[in-house]
């Protein structure tokens, strides 16, 4: 198509250059040297594969592509490092698996990949730009022989814009070097721009491609009360009834079902109201309603260490680590824990102490939800033992032990 047009109008269009064909690498290299030595600069060699060393014969300078790649690669490195630092350490900082917000070892892989990516873009697009590609219409394509430049032909063209160019002399020079007929070729009759229909198609496609983006922007900028569109009905819409909604299946019209009569929640079964409440009627018990054995005291001591010592301290003087720390920090809202050896506490009944453990008092929280009634009684028993130990007289020591200590 292009070609028939070119042949018709060839004589009307300005001369673009002279084209000569060669047989092999040796002859074209020699020709390139001759042309270079004759002082031509605006000429080119066309071959189906890169010819080793031809750039020397043609007198070409090394390309600056590596520098472009280096600059882009370094930008990639710094951009990736900056972006990772800014996103993970500044804009949205969060600690994960004990790693620093910006710990270089963990940021190396992404930095490396991004460096390579930008360098590769630079190499590829840099090559295209330096070569002024794509360019689909070239004057040399006028020659039908030139098609073999991508098969097995070797061509050399001297262009008319070379200061040394002289149609006759240049042609004679090339004819001397080549054993094939040398031909003249002309500026391309085709405009370098794309045909109108391709351009309009591209514009239309571009406009269409913007539509989804526009829809997203519009959706993000506007409010609606309608539920979102679910293309895939996943966990957002499950087959279940929500809390507090109506359901006509049941006589009471509720979707939520009450517990069956006699349901007891896990751990809530109270067979003995006295043990569970520490009260007999409305009065607090003054004896522990469960058998007190060594095992129970030991259990109480262990539970006391877990739940009570942080505030009340190991010996119950209200000097636990939390209390000490609060005092050190001079916390304004902190209420000093009671000493269990305060006369006020000592004179309390076991029922009152049990009740305090279960339900809390003042700022002390209730522990009833965290331990069984039995464990609360065990702690109560241990507290009693603790109080006794801190206020004991020699009379509390059994006679046999007293003898060992050598006191009466």
């Amino acid at each position: 198509m292009v070609e028939s047009v070119a042949i018709q109008n060839a004589s009307e269009r300005p001369l673009h250059g002279v084209l000569a064909e060669f047989d092999d690498v040796d002859s074209i290299s020699a020709a390139a040297r001759e042309v270079r030595d004759a002082g031509y600069t605006s000429f080119d060699v066309y071959s189906p594969f890169p010819i080793h060393g031809i750039e020397r014969h043609m007198g070409l300078r090394p390309t600056k592509l590596p520098w472009i790649v280096l600059v882009c690669g370094l930008s990639g490195t710094s951009l990736a490092l900056f972006f990772q630092w800014w996103t993970n350490a500044v804009d949205y900082p969060f600690t994960i698996s004990g790693k620093p917000l910006f710990g270089i070892p963990a940021n190396i892989p992404v930095t490396f990949e991004f460096t390579v990516l930008l360098s590769a873009f630079a190499a590829f697009f840099g090559m295209l730009i330096l070569n002024r590609l794509p360019e689909h219409h070239r004057p040399v394509f006028e020659s039908s022989r030139f098609r073999r430049a991508t098969d097995d032909g070797f061509f050399l063209a001297i262009e008319a814009d070379d200061p040394q160019f002289d149609a006759t002399k240049t042609r004679a020079l090339l004819q001397k070097l080549s054993r094939h007929p040398v031909e003249l070729y002309h500026d391309s009759g085709q405009s370098a721009a794309l045909p109108v229909w391709i351009r309009s198609a591209l514009v239309a496609a571009g406009a269409l491609a913007l539509l989804p983006l526009a829809a997203v922007v519009w959706a993000r900028a506007s409010d609606t009360t309608r539920p979102p569109i679910h293309i895939v009905q996943d966990m957002d819409s499950q087959q279940r009834f929500r809390a507090q909604v109506a359901n006509q299946v049941f006589a009471d019209g509720r979707a939520m079902r009450p517990d069956s009569i006699g349901t007891v929640a896990w751990g809530e079964l109270r067979t003995d109201a006295t043990v569970a409440s520490g009260k007999s009627g409305d009065a607090f018990l003054d004896t522990i309603p469960v058998p007190v054995t060594d095992a129970v005291i030991a259990r109480g001591r262990e539970r006391f260490a877990v739940y009570c010592t942080p505030c009340h301290g190991q010996s119950g003087y209200g000097d636990g680590l939390v209390a000490l720390r609060a005092a050190e920090l001079q916390e304004q809202t902190w209420v000093q824990p009671s000493s269990l050896h305060d006369p006020l506490v000592r004179t309390r009944t076991v029922g009152q102490i049990f009740d305090t453990i279960r339900n809390g008092v003042r700022t002390m929280p209730a522990y009833g939800r965290q331990m069984s009634a039995e464990d609360s009684w065990a702690i109560t028993a241990y507290v009693r033992a603790l109080q006794r130990s801190q206020n004991a007289t020699i009379n509390d020591v059994p006679a046999a032990e007293r003898a060992k200590l050598g006191v009466q």
Binding site: H52, P66, L70, G98, K99, P105
Partner: protein
Amino acid sequence: MTHSLAQQTPKLGSRASRWGAIALVIGVVALAAAAYLGWSKGDGFKRLQHAWLVACAFYLSISLGGLFFVIIQHLTRAGWSVVVRRVAELVAANTLVIAILFAPLVVMVLRGDASLYPWADAEHVHAEPLLAAKAPWLDPRFFALRCAVYFGTWWLIGRWLLKRSTEQDAATGVEPTLALERRAAPAMVGFALTINFAAFDLLMSIVPTWYSTMFGVYIFAGSVMSFFAFSVVALRFLQKNGLLDREVNVEHYHDLGKFLFAFVFFWSYVAFSQFMLIWYADIPEETFWFKERMEGSWAVVSTVLLFGHFVLPFAGLLSRHAKRRLGILTFWAVWLLVMQAVDLFWLVMPSAEHGGALVGAIDIACLAAVGGIWAFALTKLAGERALIPVNDPRLSQSLAFENF
């Protein structure tokens, strides 16, 4: 292209004995100095043993890198490298001397001296469950046997490669070359197995509770890198002395430079992966080894390695220009040899210098002692041998070689 090489075979000739004598004198004097310095420390030669291990490992890594290089050239039937191969063959064959120099450390282990290898003390091993679990491997006699196998394998392969290559010099056919090509693959298997486990035994086991599966690869990467650096330095040295100056040209240096660059990068990749995986998983059994090297003045050495062994040489050797300028290339080659020594120092010495990275005269003396004796052995090996494989079938390819 065909030239009068055959008439003028490049040889060390009389230089061999002269250089050999100088090297030997340096080696013996340094050995005496090292021994005195080690004795004067009064630590039961603990510091000396560590410094000695660094020195042996340094020259061993150059030789092993050379061994790898020679095997891979035969394996791939490479043409470009023929003119630089003989120097590599000589270096690769020069492992016996390191075996002899390393032997005292093995003797110390056999005598139960635990100052270098803590597991040499049987009582200590049985007291610590983690060590008791690996007692069958870290057994002094088994260790000695393994050392014999490692050094024996390297020596046999290296000598055989040199011997057949020298045979080719005088042969009429290409039979020696074909034999080298055939046996290169099994040799590579032997090399890979031994260097991997030798790295564990000789260097990793000085901290017997620490382990890293990649350690062998790390040592391998450093070895090959230091060989290429040494190769550049050695060829430049020979050329300064009027040898090989027509045979080895900038194209060969360019290729050596490319490999040097590649292995700088490969070492960095291995070092980073090893560090990052341990840093990230953060398991105390593994991290203590790096923690030791990231505190006090050891942190300085680690930083020196990061920049000196990776960042600077990477940037310095990146461009084609740098690899083709012999001055620049030689500078980086020397630099990287120093870095290889620093790397080995960094691997070994924290066991002896807990307080901080102290480089002493003893370290220099040990490097000079092993280096001198190693270089002496090298001149003995080079002796009357041609410095390039003069009759190699691919010699002309190598001479005519051009980078694109």
